[in-house]
């Protein structure tokens, strides 16, 4: 029982030190928030709400319905009517509209004819992403169909699980894993190495505290921090980007807990090897970069060469991404994720055994 008290004493000491380290506290909250905003808002390949100027030369019920359909895609935001081609170009030149849409005066005939464009889309070429918008609009089925194609239904974009094709929906769950990797590996590794650097460890290991108590006591606060960060990311994702959790929250937190433990064990192993905080940081980066690039966070996993896929299998983030995407986006249950859970568990056991084998209450 005294072991548990010692463990809690170590944990309480760690929390007290953390609470006094304002920069680290700032990072714990700041990293998820900033990254989420950065990835959620800035890195957004799917442009929405583009301001458009419209020159409707037809002014028929058909042209109005066509414009209504365009607005329904949400790709275009405000539609500013222009009375002449000159005004339309002027709006674009001033940057007030990024896209110009010109509807031909005789759209009914053009539609019936089927070979001539009914609509011209002018794009502000200085903004590369907008070209995709134009292509998207150009590819809309209503413009290519014969007969009476202007059915009163919005343009259909069929993408499973992310019907709106928004980056945030993919980013939020994936970011959760990336941020946990950062916090768990770097913070814990440096928390232990710092004590070694400052000589605290030399004193601690001459006391009755056991390696397991010492490790568990030091890591416990970071488990809680990891769960707080998970909650923060999911909450911000819900409020700011409207990403709901389709599956069960309990499943989600259980998966997160396993991933946190796996990442902590890696941080622990690093801490038994690194002599300085700088070394710990370097070692953590060796894991961080492939985690970000190869786990499917940035590039689709399937598109990577076989070697890269093999390496990715070793990274816990790869499996956690599968788990969290499944639960958050597809509403999957943990029971659907047995292979991923098993791989995380194996990673945890291997890392923990290595770390424990390396950590002794000695200096040699």
């Amino acid at each position: 029982m005294s072991g548990l008290w010692r463990l809690l004493a170590v944990a309480a000491k760690e929390v007290r030190q953390l609470a006094r380290d304002r920069i680290t506290i700032g990072l714990i909250i700041g990293i998820p928030t900033i990254q989420l905003l950065l990835f959620g808002y800035a890195i957004n390949f799917d442009v929405r709400g583009v301001s458009a100027a419209v020159l409707d030369q037809s002014r028929t019920s058909l042209s109005r319905r066509l414009l209504g359909d365009l607005a329904a895609t949400q790709v275009l935001g405000t539609l500013r009517p222009a009375v002449s081609e000159g005004e339309l170009r002027e709006l674009m030149q001033k940057g007030e509209s990024n896209v110009g849409i010109v509807i031909a005066p005789d759209i009914e005939r053009r539609l019936a004819d089927g070979n001539r464009a009914v609509m011209q889309i002018l794009v502000d070429g200085s903004q590369p992403a907008l070209e995709n918008v134009a292509q998207g609009l150009g590819a809309m089925p209503l413009l290519q169909r014969r007969g009476t194609p202007v059915a009163a239904r919005p343009v259909e974009i069929l993408v499973a699980y992310n019907p709106e094709k928004r980056t945030a929906v993919q980013i939020v769950p994936a970011l959760c894993g990336v941020i946990l990797t950062m916090t768990m590996v770097i913070f814990t590794a440096s928390a232990i190495v710092r004590e070694r650097e400052r000589g605290n460890l030399e004193l601690l290991i001459t006391t009755p505290v056991s390696p397991a108590e010492l490790m568990a006591g030091k890591l416990l606060p970071y488990v809680v921090i990891g769960l707080i960060q998970t909650t923060l990311i999911l909450a911000l994702g819900y409020w700011l980007f409207g990403v709901p959790v389709a599956g069960s929250l309990i499943d989600l937190y259980f998966g997160a807990l396993l991933f946190i433990a796996a990442s902590l064990s890696l941080g622990l192993l690093i801490s038994t090897i690194a002599r300085t905080q700088f070394q710990a940081m370097q070692m953590a980066l060796v894991v961080m970069l492939p985690s970000i690039l190869m786990s499917g966070f940035m590039f689709p996993f399937e598109g990577m060469p076989a070697v890269a896929q093999g390496i990715a299998q070793v990274l816990p983030l790869t499996h956690f991404n599968e788990i969290i995407r499944g639960i958050v986006l597809r509403g999957a249950a943990l029971t659907d994720m047995r292979p991923e859970l098993a791989k995380l568990a194996i990673f945890l056991v291997v890392m923990l055994s290595l770390a424990m084998a390396r950590f002794r209450k000695r200096l040699d």
């Binding site: 005294s2 004493a9 400052r198 030399e202 290991i205 000695r362 040699d364």
Partner: protein, 317 residues
């Protein structure tokens, strides 16, 4: 005489470097035992082997009746260790540091309260209890470290150069505290490179390149010195030094103010006459006089510092 520590043939190698080259050690209980030696003489390595931080390459150690490193966990409960560097937590207050160390030693709430209050009072730390350890002065930190090392009332205290970053007054106070602990039956092993501190120890081992070069009570060591000590005054030191260095039997020349202190082997025949002859051409009026050995002479003789080597251990401030 009961022994707190007993070691036989204790050695520790780091790769090809031999830090401790096989030493025998007997530390009597309830005394202050000193390790005197320059940096790299094996003081810290020996202390670390005694508290189980390092495993000996060879040899056996018994600490408080337990074999090390086998019984390290048992010994740790009876042992207090003060590292060379201040190793409490800078970002915790003095009080929090003491409280944490109490908890690590598994002391219950009532004991914690009493022990912390006593240590704060004994070591003059009461006004500093709310202050972060990182903002304390060298002397205050050292008192805090000693308070932390004695919270669990250890039978044996291992102090690794405890006064290296402390002013002379704090060092005097610190030694008063050590004697108070010894009076209560604590055994203290302290390493130092200050001669005045070494003189305060009940017993002393002079370490040199991983070996014990001399061992005993400080006064006895000075009496038993295997050298003749001669002081030379009233001379031109530059030319005198050159003349003396030419004599093969002169083991060391050190300047102390306006005197030169010369060490020669005890076997040297008529040392005063020979030195006078050597000095004669340039320094005919120089005084040459045989004097009693100081601990520093013992140290120099024991560690066989060569001619002209003035890098003897730091002198007391």
């Amino acid at each position: 005489m009961s022994l707190a520590i007993s070691a036989r043939g204790l050695a520790r190698h780091f790769g090809h470097v031999i830090a401790v080259a096989g030493i025998d050690l007997d530390v009597p209980a309830a005394e202050i035992y000193g390790f005197l030696g320059p940096n790299g003489s094996g003081k810290s390595t020996t202390i670390r082997m005694l508290c189980g931080l390092l495993v000996p390459t060879r040899g056996t150690v018994t600490v408080l009746g337990h074999s090390m490193p086998r019984d390290a966990e048992i010994v740790r409960r009876k042992l207090g260790y003060m590292t060379q560097r201040f190793s409490l937590w800078d970002d915790l207050t003095a009080g929090e540091n003491l409280d944490f160390m109490c908890r690590v030693y598994g002391l219950d709430r009532a004991t914690r309260r009493v022990r912390i209050a006593t240590r704060l009072r004994d070591y003059d730390l009461e006004p500093l209890v709310e202050q972060r350890a990182g903002t304390l002065s060298g002397g205050q930190r050292q008192r805090l470290a000693l308070a932390a090392a004695t919270l669990h009332e250890p039978q044996l205290l291992l102090l690794d150069e405890p006064t290296s970053a402390v002013d002379p007054q704090s060092r005097r106070d610190f030694w008063e505290n050590l004697f108070a602990l010894v009076a209560r039956g604590t055994t203290i092993l302290v390493s130092t490179h200050y001669m005045d501190e070494a003189e305060r120890c009940h017993r002393l081992a002079i370490l040199d390149r991983g070996r014990i070069a001399a061992e005993g009570e400080p006064k006895q060591l000075a009496r038993d010195i295997d050298a003749t000590v001669i002081e030379i005054g009233n001379a031109d030191f530059v030319s005198a030094r050159r003349a003396l260095a030419a004599i093969a039997e002169v083991r060391s020349i050190a300047q102390l103010g306006n005197r030169l202190r010369v060490l020669m082997p005890r076997t040297a025949v008529e040392p005063e006459r020979r030195l006078r002859e050597a000095l004669a051409p340039a320094n005919a009026g120089a005084s040459v006089q045989r004097v009693g050995a100081s601990l520093e002479d013992v140290f120099v003789a024991a560690t066989r510092l060569g001619i002209g080597a003035d890098d003897t251990p730091e002198r007391a401030a």
